[in-house]
Symmetry: C2
Subunit: 368 residues, 2 copies
């Protein structure tokens, strides 16, 4: 092994995103030889004892972190959230029936587009008219009478907004809540018992891209809106404990290590406190300035993605370049939103938020 560089920059990438240093150090060993087995984690059979332990511990730690009861299955699958956009209605939305969707950004729109292939979509709320700069609440949410389910995107990476609570839902006891939690999963406590299905691509808060976490109420697995290929039925993956076919073993390993890291850091409540404090450092800088402008309404602001603008696009380009040169990478906003975006997921250190805030103040002094 040649030299390993130890200098790492502040990585504000929206995803794939920063992972905990200690997890990466563990992974460096595990890909060569895990648990003294003489074989790296990527090279172990998904049906052998070493991987049994990996996946069983990942599930157990996931359950412990979020207090997930035995009424729910915890599954590790492939395809990302975009794959779930059609899996949800394909499995749950019968022809002619209605599902409610809250339209709060590009990923909500992706989910809505796929749902329309299968059944009726009722938009119970939308913030599209104001370029998705807020989270609809109260009278802005108009559920339908009998939705099969209500779908929302808990955090909107592109526009920097985040739900504070679960949205109002229509329907009675049979109706259930579905959440795309890809970009804020396990960044705060979550009452899983309120949900029918939570899905999350790993690459923001949980691990590498290519692995998706599903938390699904077991009784829903018996519902089947239509006949589907084996791999597209949730039930297939649940009945085979995520090993109907070869799962993404390394991604599951990494996710398991991240679960252990979250536990060691104090769990979801500690994550929430830390994330709130981290975000406050940057939002306070924005609010104290006439130069910087936050794009999301204050009561809808995301603790994961802080989106802001400078007085001109030229200044924004200048700022992003200067920040990159100063060791702060990934601050360019999404192409459909422009400006800057500081993604500060669980693994992102407070020191990076302080560094950015100081850099913003200095940039304002010299360019304001």
């Amino acid at each position: 092994m040649t030299t390993v560089a130890t200098e790492r920059v502040f990585n504000f990438s929206a995803g794939p995103a920063i992972l905990p240093d200690s997890v990466l150090r563990e992974a460096q060993e595990a890909i060569w030889n895990i648990d003294g087995s003489g074989i790296g984690i990527m090279e172990h059979s998904h049906r052998g004892k070493v991987f049994d332990k990996v996946i069983e511990e990942a599930e157990a730690d996931c359950r412990e972190l979020a207090g997930i009861s035995d009424d729910y299955a915890v599954l590790f699958v492939q395809g990302g959230a975009s794959h779930q956009f059609f899996m949800v209605p394909a499995n749950f939305l019968p022809d002619g029936e209605t599902a409610d969707y809250l339209n709060t950004g590009k990923w909500s729109q992706g989910a809505i587009k796929e749902a329309k292939r299968y059944g009726k979509v009722h938009l119970s709320a939308s913030s599209e008219d104001t370029n998705f700069n807020f989270i609809p609440t109260g009278a802005d949410v108009k559920p339908s009478d009998k939705p099969v389910y209500t779908h929302f995107t808990s955090n909107n990476t592109i526009f920097g907004t985040q739900f504070r609570d679960e949205p109002a839902c229509g329907g009675g006891g049979d109706s259930f809540l579905v959440c795309d939690a890809s970009s804020d999963i396990f960044s705060r406590p979550i009452d899983v018992s309120k949900y029918g299905l939570i899905y999350a691509g790993a690459q923001k808060n949980l691990g590498p891209s290519g692995t998706t976490l599903l938390i699904v109420r077991k009784d829903l697995l018996e519902r089947s809106a239509r006949d589907l290929p084996t791999m597209l039925r949730y039930k297939t993956h649940a009945e085979n404990d995520s090993r109907y076919n070869t799962p993404p073993t390394f991604g599951i390993y990494l996710m398991g290590r991240v679960f252990k890291w979250i536990k060691s850091e104090g769990g979801l409540a500690a994550m929430a406190a830390r994330n709130e404090a981290k975000a406050k450092v940057i939002y306070d800088t924005i609010d104290a300035s006439a130069f910087w402008n936050g794009t999301a309404k204050p009561d809808s602001r995301s603790r994961m993605n802080v989106c802001f603008r400078a007085p001109s696009e030229d200044l924004e380009s200048k700022f992003i370049k200067a920040a990159t040169d100063a060791g702060m990478d990934g601050l360019k906003g999404h192409r459909s939103a422009g400006g800057m975006r500081a993604s500060i997921y669980n693994a992102f250190p407070n020191a990076g938020c302080e560094a950015l805030a100081e850099f913003m103040r200095e940039f304002e002094r010299t360019n304001g």
Copy 2:
């Protein structure tokens, strides 16, 4: 970083399987800090410059290795071969039309099962009656007149058989060949121009599980057997250069490093010569013995998975345990075949085959 154990055992796992030592050493560095970027490979945006280079080089090296022309798209997707079992007919097999399938083992059967959901399946050959111990050729293959495509599994991991050449196909110029090459991709030269689609899960010869390589003729992307969700259309992935959504970035990185390793080892012809020699070491030991029995017919034997039996199941258990204790892991046969299976993919060293052969001879001397 604490100590890294350097002792690795001979890993005969059928998949996920052994990876080249040098690739793992590179990956150890890259997951901490790739190319001096200060960010690990798993933490880079899939739309940033560092990953651009990773995926562009992976595609270029793949094309160079197999001489793939611009008439073909090279794609990196998720879901494994089992996902392709339905993707192939969903995209290509219109209602009521026929596809030919060669039934040579459990994975062929999986593909056949999913195809029947979409159209008619004609079994042009099957070795099921003799527990899949041979590859049908010559008069054993009876193509239909007008199949949309002909599907075969080039190597059968469970039963240790492998096609020597492409099977006979029915149909004219419009009909095309589809191959599940998961377990022998790039173990030997391949004339891609004979195929419409080649798919391969990475976890045998190419990288970690969770990434699937697709090599697909571009004109076929314009065919669409039915209206499908966005993520299930091959065209979606081709039009977006495998980045319609977040791809499995680490798996693509690793696959790219394996491509470079194959190139440095002399390319596919060198791989074929090495794999043939490696397999011969074990098959010669079997053929010189009255104790060991190869399960596949000699002219159908796989160079990737050498399957053999001892005179009794008790002796097999004893052998597998003794071999494991001697640093040879993963020799237990698949549960549906029994006996032993030595999987010796590209990255498996000849020294391991020699060690196994010697161990087999010694075991025969003391137990025969």
